[in-house]
């Protein structure tokens, strides 16, 4: 009887140990590993801001563009006994997923991965959380209606490659009481015809970062066409307003590290799990308004709205 009781106690102890494995890994080590895909300059600020936010020692590891560049890198990273891995770029995110296959007690936060869904980073993996590289369609639409409150119907061209974003866009438009008028294209050359088809039915147009849509030739044409059709055209890269479209809403990469750092602290210090967090949209925006184009299309942007913009082109 006594022996049976000891066995039960041992079993309970074992269960507690197994259940608390992710918490234990986080508490055992104070170090956070930062894994970079390569030496891209773009990672510099997120690494700095993440390191400042996390307020723990960090060790930086670099794949140098190839997971096989240093065959010992995985070993070196685990030798640091990281409490969490912050992976920047697609290769680093993929490597972090692969390397933690047997170490799912180590949480991973990834960022700066274009089209993260393509890599199935979170599929069947509860230790993976992240920040999408693309601004959420809702953030684009919310800013559109701040700078042009009259917008009710938004035009969108998409390709099979951006089908998932189209679904998110539909949902966000519903949430904000907007109508989405969308048209799918299979070739980049189809853009002009598709645009002309929807142009008369919309007040604004959202340019997707889709390889079939976002080409220099298409952007050049869209800039002229948006002015001709007096459409409030919006995109999600820094360049888009400089190229002559009215509004650019893009992610503030300086703040990306702060967001990831806060997510990491919520996991390491406040018991949130990567699964609870999932993949967040980048929450911080940089907004550029092209007032010259706004004047050409007859949109009068209020001074109050202009104060929300990070920068303004023209007067």
């Amino acid at each position: 009887m006594h022996g049976k009781s000891i066995h039960i106690e041992l079993l309970v102890l074992l269960l507690i140990c197994l259940w608390s494995a992710p918490v234990r890994a986080a508490q055992e080590s104070a170090v956070v590993a930062i894994l970079l895909s390569d030496s891209e300059e773009a990672y510099g600020r997120p690494v700095t801001t993440f390191s400042e936010e996390i307020e723990r020692p960090v060790s930086v590891f670099n794949l140098h563009g190839d997971i096989m560049h240093d065959p010992d890198l995985k070993e070196k990273l685990f030798a640091a006994r990281p409490a969490l891995i912050f992976a920047l770029g697609a290769k680093a995110a993929y490597a972090a997923r692969l390397w933690t296959e047997e170490r799912r007690d180590i949480p991973v936060i990834f960022a700066m991965v274009l089209n993260w869904q393509r890599y199935k980073l979170t599929e069947g993996r509860e230790n993976m959380a992240g920040i999408a590289a693309e601004m959420a369609p809702g953030t684009q639409f919310a800013n559109m209606i701040m700078f042009s409150p009259a917008v009710r119907r938004i035009g969108l061209l998409y390709s099979p490659q951006s089908g998932q974003i189209f679904d998110q866009a539909r949902e966000a438009a519903d949430l904000l009481g907007l109508e989405l008028v969308a048209e799918s294209i299979d070739h980049s050359r189809d853009l002009r015809l598709a645009f002309k088809k929807i142009s008369a039915k919309v007040d604004a147009f959202w340019v997707l970062n889709d390889p079939l849509i976002y080409t220099m030739e298409n952007l050049d044409w869209l800039e002229k066409r948006c002015v001709r059709d007096k459409l409030f055209c919006v995109g999600q890269t820094l360049n888009i307003a400089k190229l002559g479209l009215t509004l650019s809403v893009n992610s503030d990469n300086d703040q990306l590290g702060v967001q990831a750092g806060a997510m990491a602290r919520n996991i390491l210090e406040r018991g949130q799990t990567p699964k609870d967090i999932g993949v967040m949209a980048p929450l911080n925006t940089q907004i550029i308004v092209n007032l010259n184009t706004a004047a050409k299309i007859g949109t009068n942007i209020s001074p109050q709205a202009l104060d929300l913009a990070t920068s303004i082109i023209g007067r």
Binding site: I145, D254, Q255, A262, N266, R270, I277, Q304, A305, D307
Partner: protein, 272 residues
């Protein structure tokens, strides 16, 4: 010989440089910091290029040699204050409570809006959310960053009253209040802590965003950001000059522009 002479010349230049480097910062007029730092994440103003233009023009008109620098990110601001100390600052009141900041920076002016020197923050959730204050500990909350002392202040003015401890809540920091508000309206987070003034500001532009959220709780009054100066570095004459200059308020076109940009109605002498 030539080689020796060249080396000697190098040594003399090095010696002169060393003496000059030692002497230069000790010369009166060269030690005073040349910057006016701004860090106000709860302000409605995000266009720092426009703000810097207006503020530099104002300072030049007043005969000041300070250059205005605005910070969007808290850690950048903290780092710069440490590495390249400014003469004047416009900063959140809680920053003064941090470490030995109160011993170093002295507040001189407080902005007023609608006659008061305080504002309130609102704890928001989505309009159709069933999240209650009791369940807030499990939610992700977006808000602008605060240091440890800022969190102590938030505990006092809002969290403690509702049985919450800010140190245990799951925050995600945004550089601007609007980003926190938009993130909530778009269901990217479960809650947000945002200045009521900023909610009203957004509502005036387009009520759609604000109609997507509802208020769970409102804080006690929070002091508005203060204009301070570095006690050990700024000459008293500069302090008095800036005070007089800003207290003139809307009588000066350039001051009026800044006040309009920062949503300030008047300045008041700090006297607490």
């Amino acid at each position: 010989m030539k080689h020796l002479l060249r080396n000697n010349r190098k040594n003399v230049v090095a010696l002169l440089f060393a003496v000059f480097s030692w002497w230069w910062p000790h010369t009166p007029g060269h030690t005073a910091p040349a910057s006016f730092f701004y860090f106000c994440p709860d302000s409605p103003q995000n266009n720092f290029t426009r703000l810097k233009e207006a503020m530099d023009a104002l300072l030049t008109e007043g005969g000041f040699s300070y250059s205005f620098q605005a910070f969007a990110h808290f850690k950048d601001f903290e780092r710069q204050v440490r590495d390249d100390p400014p003469g004047f600052l416009l900063l959140p009141e809680w920053y003064l409570r941090q470490k030995d900041n109160a011993g170093r920076f002295k507040p001189i002016l407080v902005p007023l809006r609608q006659g008061v020197s305080t504002y309130r923050k609102a704890l928001l959730v989505s309009v159709d959310s069933d999240l209650t204050l009791a369940k807030l500990a499990d939610a992700t909350i977006a808000m602008t960053p605060v240091g440890q002392e800022g969190m102590t202040m938030l505990n006092e003015v809002i969290f403690k009253t509702h049985g919450l401890n800010g140190d245990k809540l799951k925050f995600i920091y945004t550089a601007k209040d609007y980003d926190a508000l938009f993130a909530l309206a778009l269901r990217q987070v479960q809650a947000a802590l945002v200045a009521v003034d900023n909610m009203e500001y957004v509502e005036r532009i387009n009520p759609k965003i604000v109609s997507a959220v509802k208020i769970l709780a409102v804080s006690e009054p929070i002091p508005r950001p203060l204009i301070c100066y570095d006690k050990n570095a700024v000459p008293a004459a500069d302090v008095e000059k800036l005070k007089t200059f800003l207290l003139a308020g809307k009588q000066n076109e350039k001051t009026a522009k800044i006040m309009e940009m920062l949503q300030i109605d008047a300045w008041q002498v700090y006297s607490y």
